[in-house]
Amino acid sequence: MEKKFYTNDFEHLLKENADQFKMFPSKKVWHGIYNDIHPGTRWPSIAMSLLFVFTLVLIGHLNTQQGQHSYLPNVPKNVESKKPLDKNGNKETTAKSVNSSIEKDATLNAIAIPSHSLLIKEQLKGRSNQVSIRENFVEASNDIIYSSKEKNPDGRALSNSERNNEDLIVNRSSADLQNINTLIFDELNITAIEYTTGLTTDNISPSTIFSKPADYNYESIANNITDISNPGLKENKINVPTRTKIHKNPKITWGYYLAPSFSYRTYSNKGNDADQIYLGYINNSNSAGVNRPVTHRPTAGLEVGTAMKYSLTKKLKFTAGFQANYSSYTIQANNIHPIIATLILHDEKTAMPYAISAISYFGNGPGTIPVNLYNYSVQLSVPVGFEYQLAGNDRIQFSAAASFQPSLVLANQAYILSTDKRNYLTQSTLSRHWNMSTNVGTYISFASNKFKWQIGPQVHYQLLSAYANKYSVREHFIDYGIRVGVSKLIR
């Protein structure tokens, strides 16, 4: 009878306490329920966020994608053309476009007619000469046929040594008519530019492309050219449309990077000592800070990612991209017979402490059967930040960069220290699914024709604790690494 009464009391005890027990669910539970019963109005998802970032990047890329064509040559705006000498031999400068005609002045007898005239005349005389033009449109030769300046200001013919090195010099040899015609046209362009704008051949970019208009009549030009010795020259109008691609300074670069790192954590306890007292521990060794009783070691970490850089100014760039991080560290523990370990947590709404218990298989520190445990975190993040060039030129630069990285924890393993600091146990519910990190670094970059290489140190620090706020221990992953990256200029 007594036992039966006890039995009923026991079951009553169970029911009474179980009914009183409450737990507050996380917000994601309600979000999941809401999304299921209201499918038309879902909460913003990760996919939508990524799509938004991708759209922004795409818009930026399309807006700055170059492909503009202009009929103006690639010339500096402040170039002044050289006017022919006046009567007194003084040079005057005015700015002219390449499409303007080559105007002739009666006082130009001191300056030779553009050199193409002589070449054309030579061609028309039946002499076949091979002509070659090198990258800088100059090829020294003993057979100097002409230069753009045949005479110096006082009318005396220039000797070879007196010729300006910047003058166009062409070595002629055998060539077919078409080549020469094309070359003539090129010479026309070059000389016209040089004449009207004062540019030397060095100023003309090798990438400038001269193309022959289909309806261009070289013979008509030749027919209109008078003898160079005749001081009374007619006007020589040459409309030389040129087509060239304008290459703007690239505004967007896209790159990939890799950063092996030395991964560790900062470890602190917020209120852990109060929890100890709350539990009733009066053992002083347990009231020491959380770092002293544990034995942790850093391990290797890794960061890989891709990023877009958009130039806001000449030195400042906005960066955004995607990145994956692996951070970890080692815990020295020992295998023990399974025991019940207790964690004191704090209710997130009311801050009331409560205990949870779980079976632990690992003791803290070395023991008879040592074992290494690994705490790690794999995160996918969207770094957004800025990069500033501190020094350097177009080829070599020294820059500093910083970014904020909202992160999604894809996978993690967390061995959590029990409140009495004697055991480790796993409680995946205490790990955060979202986090925020920051990355700061400096690097040197080397630019080649198409690519830009970077190398430099960086520090990656996790701003929020790896654990939820209800757990009093704070753990922040920190990685010291060397970033190596390559980016491509998008023209």
């Binding site: 007594e2 036992k3 006890y6 039995t7 026991f10 079951e11 005890l13 169970l14 029911k15 306490n17 179980a18 009914d19 009183q20 027990f21 409450k22 737990m23 507050f24 669910p25 996380s26 994601k28 539970v29 309600w30 999941g32 329920i33 809401y34 299921d36 019963i37 209201h38 709350y278 539990l279 009733g280 017979h337 399974p338 025991i339 019940i340 370990a341 207790t342 402490p353 409560y354 205990a355 949870i356 218990s357 079976i359 029990s418 009495d420 004697r422 055991n423 409680q427 995946s428 519910t429």
Partner: protein, 191 residues
């Protein structure tokens, strides 16, 4: 918001009424799920699934009895279905698990008795725990438990007896209950 207003709103699929109903009953229901689940994450999954069923079947509630009781039954059945789907009742595992439980009295200190009791229940092997939850706390009969879990009624009784004994042992060690006085025989000797 009163229960009637909440119910009326839920029947009309109004989000604010649904959220209010969820907010009122979810803490206790999560406690129910927590007793069945392996961990908090599983418990929240069970809770989510349970409430989805509640809202989809709310029109079947006939005002016969308390709304909380009706919700609780749905949640309990959801928990059982999840456990059955994941096959968490392997007896062989339970026995091994039961034998390996070792209580270190120096580590066991809890503040709230309800939490202690629930945590003690959660220390039991899954099969024992489920039967004990259904019989002692949820009020199902062994016959009903046998039908729900697809086991024999005798199996349900024996599992409950073992679960109760184990739980008593845990609670005594936790000093939540006192050790029952030993039964004195006619000769005055203890049995």
């Amino acid at each position: 918001m009163t229960e009637e207003v909440m119910l009326h709103g839920c029947l009309n699929n109004i989000a604010s009424a649904q959220e209010a109903l969820y907010g009122r009953f979810s803490p206790r229901m999560l406690g129910v799920c927590y007793r069945f689940a392996r961990n908090r994450e599983d418990a929240e999954d069970m809770l989510q699934e349970g409430f989805i069923k509640v809202f989809s079947q709310i029109h079947q509630f006939r005002n016969q009895g308390a709304l909380e009781g009706w919700i609780r039954r749905i949640v309990v059945h959801t928990c059982i279905n999840v456990l059955k789907k994941n096959k968490k009742f392997a007896d062989s595992v339970d026995l091994i698990h039961a034998n390996s439980i070792h209580l270190n009295e120096n580590n066991i200190h809890s503040i709230l008795q309800a939490k202690q009791v629930v945590e003690s229940i959660r220390l039991l092997p899954m099969g024992y725990r489920t039967v004990l939850n259904l019989y002692a706390i949820e009020g199902f009969s062994h016959k009903e438990i046998a039908a729900i879990l697809d086991i024999e009624e005798s199996t349900s009784r024996s599992q409950y007896t073992r679960a109760k004994a184990m739980l008593e042992d845990i609670l005594i060690k936790k000093k939540i209950i006192n050790k029952p006085r030993e039964h004195m025989g006619l000769t005055g000797l203890t049995k």
